[in-house]
């Protein structure tokens, strides 16, 4: 134990984080400069944006140093790099929109990058508040059912009249004070806390095996209840809000956490079955699901209609090739929703396969570091919460990028940290704050009695 203490005391690795954070910021700065030089813009206004983004990240780093000195040093720089790349691409698409307005003689569009910067500010404020007020992640377990209730409310609030609004056929947004917000993004964080708290308390009974079918242990029928409930909730999201992405993400997340909590592969099989059944029912019952699926099979069948988005996206990737056209030198504005759902095809066009591999490696680092925190933390709630939060980012990345590259059907989700969209950015910074909190607990030298008790408890499995 003393050895462990000594090893941890040696380095907090905060300086490494600072250096990497400066690197992440510089990536954004260079991207921004390249965009401006390639498009012939000389907006010194960009420096205000870049410096404020840098300052925000620096403050966030300061708070980590103060509140979570033993936290993993890679998490914040990785997501900061993604955030900066996203800002640069949104800026680049703003320029394209402005140029288009000039050549069409239409009114100038408002640049989105400043709003995204505002959301970055709010995201980092949320990040800081979490670090300051949630000093111990285990305290979140007390709010299991509060979080569950909040999650459900957030998930279904867009259905309410007046404040709920429908954009592009999906009812996911609420309008408050002129701001449009997607509460489903926050719901996934609340529900992850709920799933973790709930599964930690029920995992022993959920892990019981009733009998075996074809050599696979099957849980008791009465334990199927929670899974069925989540399945129904996901179906409701799909039916009432037409949000395939969130629906899939929530169900996938629950299965992952159920599997981790119980160690039973049978839950994965049951989950996959329910997913297939739900997907099949949705395909038969709903036109919009059927269209999505058919477009996935053959987007070129209706390249100017239902397949337009995905076809344009594929053209973008193809134009980028291995090395990309370079910042500001492609035509990412030709892809619909290039700033939000399709930002990956914009990045794929201008940065090429190489750029996207780098971006996916950043996501892989976040996942690996999140998982490392999940493994290293000493309480089962922390284990579960950390892997849940990590899975949210990993699965969401896969679902959305897989969708725009036609690996899986297109469902419509934001790409974490890259896409334009405030709720997503705030929610994801909250996730990173919690992972940093957990990783700090995992690496911190203080070992309390409570931890030892928890570990004892864990060993019973």
């Amino acid at each position: 134990m003393t050895e462990t203490l000594n090893r941890y005391r040696v380095s907090t690795r905060r300086s490494a984080e600072l250096v990497l954070l400066v690197g992440a910021w510089l990536i954004g700065v260079f991207a921004w400069i390249l965009v401006d030089s390639a498009t012939g813009e000389s907006s010194f206004g960009g420096w205000t944006s870049l410096l404020s983004a840098g300052l925000l990240l620096l403050i966030a780093h300061g708070v980590v140093r103060w509140q979570a000195p033993y936290a993993d040093p890679l998490l914040l720089p990785s997501v900061a790099a993604l955030n900066m790349l996203g800002l640069a691409m949104i800026h680049r698409l703003d320029i394209a929109a402005t140029q288009r307005a000039i050549s069409n003689g239409s009114p100038m569009p408002t640049p989105d990058v400043y709003l995204q910067l505002t959301w970055m500010l709010l995201g980092l404020v949320a990040f800081i508040l979490i670090l300051i007020f949630v000093t111990d992640h285990r305290r979140l377990q007390r709010f299991t059912f509060t979080a569950g209730f909040a999650g459900i409310v957030l998930l279904f609030i867009p259905l309410l009249p007046f404040i709920g609004s429908e954009i592009n056929g999906a009812r996911l947004w609420i309008n408050i004070l002129g701001f449009s917000f997607q509460p489903g993004e926050l719901a996934k964080v609340a529900l992850t806390i709920f799933f973790a708290g709930f599964l930690v308390s029920r995992r022993h009974s959920l892990a019981l095996i009733h009998n075996k079918i074809l050599g696979v242990g099957v849980p008791r029928a009465k334990d199927l209840g929670p899974l069925i409930l989540v399945w129904l909730a996901a179906l409701l999201v799909l039916i009432l809000e037409r949000d395939l992405g969130t629906s899939l993400l929530l169900f996938g997340l629950f299965i992952v956490m159920l599997y981790v909590a119980t160690g039973r592969r049978s839950w994965v099989l049951i989950g996959a079955t329910l997913l297939t059944v739900g997907g099949g029912l949705a395909y038969l019952a709903f036109g919009h699901v059927r269209v999505r699926f058919d477009v996935w099979l053959d987007p070129f069948a209706d390249a100017n209609g239902s397949g337009f988005q995905i076809v344009q996206s594929l053209y973008g990737f193809a134009n980028g090739g291995i090395f990309g056209t370079g910042w500001g030198q492609g035509y990412p504005q030709l892809v619909p929703f290039a700033k939000t759902d399709f930002i990956t095809s914009a990045l794929g066009e201008e940065l090429g396969l190489m750029g996207l591999i780098a971006i996916l490696l950043l996501f892989a680092i976040v996942v690996e570091r999140g998982a490392r925190a999940a493994v290293a933390t000493r309480d089962p709630f922390g284990n579960l919460l950390a892997i849940g939060l990590t899975a949210v980012i990993g699965l969401q990345t896969f679902i959305v990028i897989g969708g725009v590259t036609r690996l899986v059907p297109l469902t419509g989700l934001t790409t974490p940290f890259l896409s334009y969209g405030g709720s997503s950015l705030v929610a994801n910074y909250i996730i990173i704050a919690m992972l940093i909190r957990i990783s700090n607990a995992a690496r911190a030298p203080e070992v309390s009695d409570a931890d030892l008790v928890m570990r004892q408890d864990d060993r019973d499995d």
């Binding site: 053209y315 990737f317 193809a318 996501f363 998982a371 089962p380 899975a391 897989g402």
Partner: protein, 482 residues
């Protein structure tokens, strides 16, 4: 729980890896396929995003790209567009490209493999990529003279350097202004194109290359060449030349154009028959030689072959297995004989070049973006059509046609011009086509030429000498001027 966490992590990392594999497939293996999809606007936008190389004559550009302020960053512009349209073609956002714009697109667009080193340099120097240039063999004075002499009448002129095959003039009339089709306004382009396409005079047709017509009496040169090459005839050989002859097995009487006998006692010589364009003598000669001999001779001049100049010419034809009366008609360039204007210029060129027919070409040089010469075209021979001796005999006979015979209007003072006129019967009721083919100066020819005015260009009385020969004289003068 730890083991499960590790497994879940492994699965998520595998999913991210699957994204990379799929992206590699799209961005590397499938990319070319996706880029060539017709609905992909990026192809057009990219094509217009950097400067396309110019099409040059000896000193001036007849097609070049100039920067614009709109989404398509360069506009293709043609100086004196309608004069050179049959050569340049057009470069359109809506209708693609034609002519040299299409045939030499890889050079002009800058993605030709010959530019590999250049492109590497551009990559490292971060210079704007730029297309290469094409220099043409066209002599602007000859082209302008041809268009001016055609003066809007439906017809065509091809002038070739007989020693190399370099095309000096390739005129098609009436013409069109490629600027009308190369703007950035799709609506305008469509309206202009539809109007041109609906025009009964077919301004978009590349007449010298794409159109085949009965060559009429100019084809007598091929028959005469076959006669000389058979070894049975010389310039002075006597041929029957009555006012009209009966086509065997029919009651059709084939007569001379002037309804006269071709010589005293209805006898003429090969030379005289050519000079006065005696139909009866050549019809008789054709039947004596046989269809195969004439066909063989025609092929040696380029009939039944396709030429890429680099635009591909239509194939000139001699009828397959004609019977005797058909052979007689074919020998004087009627019946189903069809030739392009280019082909008839090649007949004259072969005779003028001591019997050797050169492959015709339009591109003299391929130049890099910085106008350094990457490739000079080497002239190549299509083949020998006649022996040197016979070609010289026929050449002198053609000089006789101009000096003593039916092609008097092709004369240029102080220069020996050889030629042959033709007035090709067309479908009944329609005016004949007026032809002239020839060369100058005799001996060391610098130009071989073919001129046609379709349906006589609207003249009331059609004659190759009156209508086509003066055009040829004007173009040859422009080329030979000191």
């Amino acid at each position: 729980m730890i083991r499960q966490i590790n497994r879940v992590t492994a699965v998520i990392v595998l999913l991210l890896l699957a994204l990379i594999v799929n992206l590699s497939y799209i961005q590397v293996f499938k990319a070319g396929d996706l880029r060539s999809q017709s609905g992909n606007q990026r192809v057009t936008l990219t094509e217009y995003s950097h400067e396309r190389g110019p099409i040059l004559l000896a000193s001036q550009a007849i097609s070049e790209s100039t920067p614009t302020a709109d989404a398509l960053k360069y506009l293709r512009e043609y100086a004196d567009g309608s004069t050179f349209a049959s050569v340049t073609g057009f470069y359109s956002v809506v209708y693609g490209a034609t002519g040299i714009e299409s045939e030499e697109n890889s050079v002009l667009a800058g993605n030709d493999s010959r530019f590999f080193v250049d492109r590497l340099q551009q990559l490292f120097a971060n210079r704007e990529p730029k297309g290469g240039a094409i220099r043409l063999t066209i002599d602007p004075d000859a082209q302008i003279a041809a268009m001016k002499a055609l003066n809007g009448r439906t017809g065509a002129v091809v002038a070739i350097d007989p020693t190399t095959g370099a095309i000096l003039a390739l005129a098609s009339s009436p013409s069109f202004d490629p600027n009308l089709l190369s703007s950035h306004d799709a609506g305008d382009i469509q309206a202009n194109y539809e109007k041109l396409n609906a025009d009964s005079d077919q301004p978009l047709l590349n007449r010298p290359l794409a159109m085949t017509l009965p060559p009429g009496s100019t084809f007598k040169l091929v028959t005469a060449a076959a006669a000389l090459e058979s070894g049975k005839y010389v310039a002075g050989s006597q041929l029957p030349g009555p006012t009209e002859i009966n086509l065997p097995g029919t009651d059709v009487q084939l007569g001379n154009w002037n309804a006269k006998s071709c010589g005293a006692g209805d006898v003429t010589t090969l030379q005289a028959a050519l000079e006065i364009s005696c139909n009866t003598a050549f019809a008789w000669l054709g039947m004596e030689l046989g269809a195969d001999a004439i066909d063989e001779q025609a092929k040696k001049f380029g009939f039944e072959s396709e030429f890429s100049v680099p635009m591909t010419s239509a194939i000139s034809r001699f009828p397959v297995a004609p019977n005797k009366p058909q052979t007689a008609m074919s020998a004087i360039g009627q019946f189903d004989v069809r030739a392009t204007v280019l082909q008839m210029a090649m007949v004259a060129a072969g005779i003028a070049n001591d019997g050797v027919v050169m492959n015709p070409y339009l591109v003299s040089q391929v130049l890099g973006p910085d106008l350094t010469v990457l490739q000079n075209t080497n002239p190549s021979a299509f083949g020998r059509a006649m022996s040197i001796e016979n070609s010289r005999i026929l050449r002198d006979m053609m000089v006789g046609v101009v000096e003593n015979g039916t092609a008097s209007k092709a004369r240029i003072s102080g220069i020996g011009v050889g030629g042959k006129t033709g007035t090709a019967e067309n479908s009944p009721g329609e005016p004949a086509h007026a032809w002239f083919v020839g060369f100058a100066p005799s001996g060391q020819s610098k130009v071989a030429i073919a001129v046609v005015l379709q349906n006589g260009g609207g003249a009331s009385e059609v004659s190759g000498n009156a209508l086509a020969a003066p055009i040829a004289a004007a173009v040859m003068r422009a080329i030979l001027k000191p």
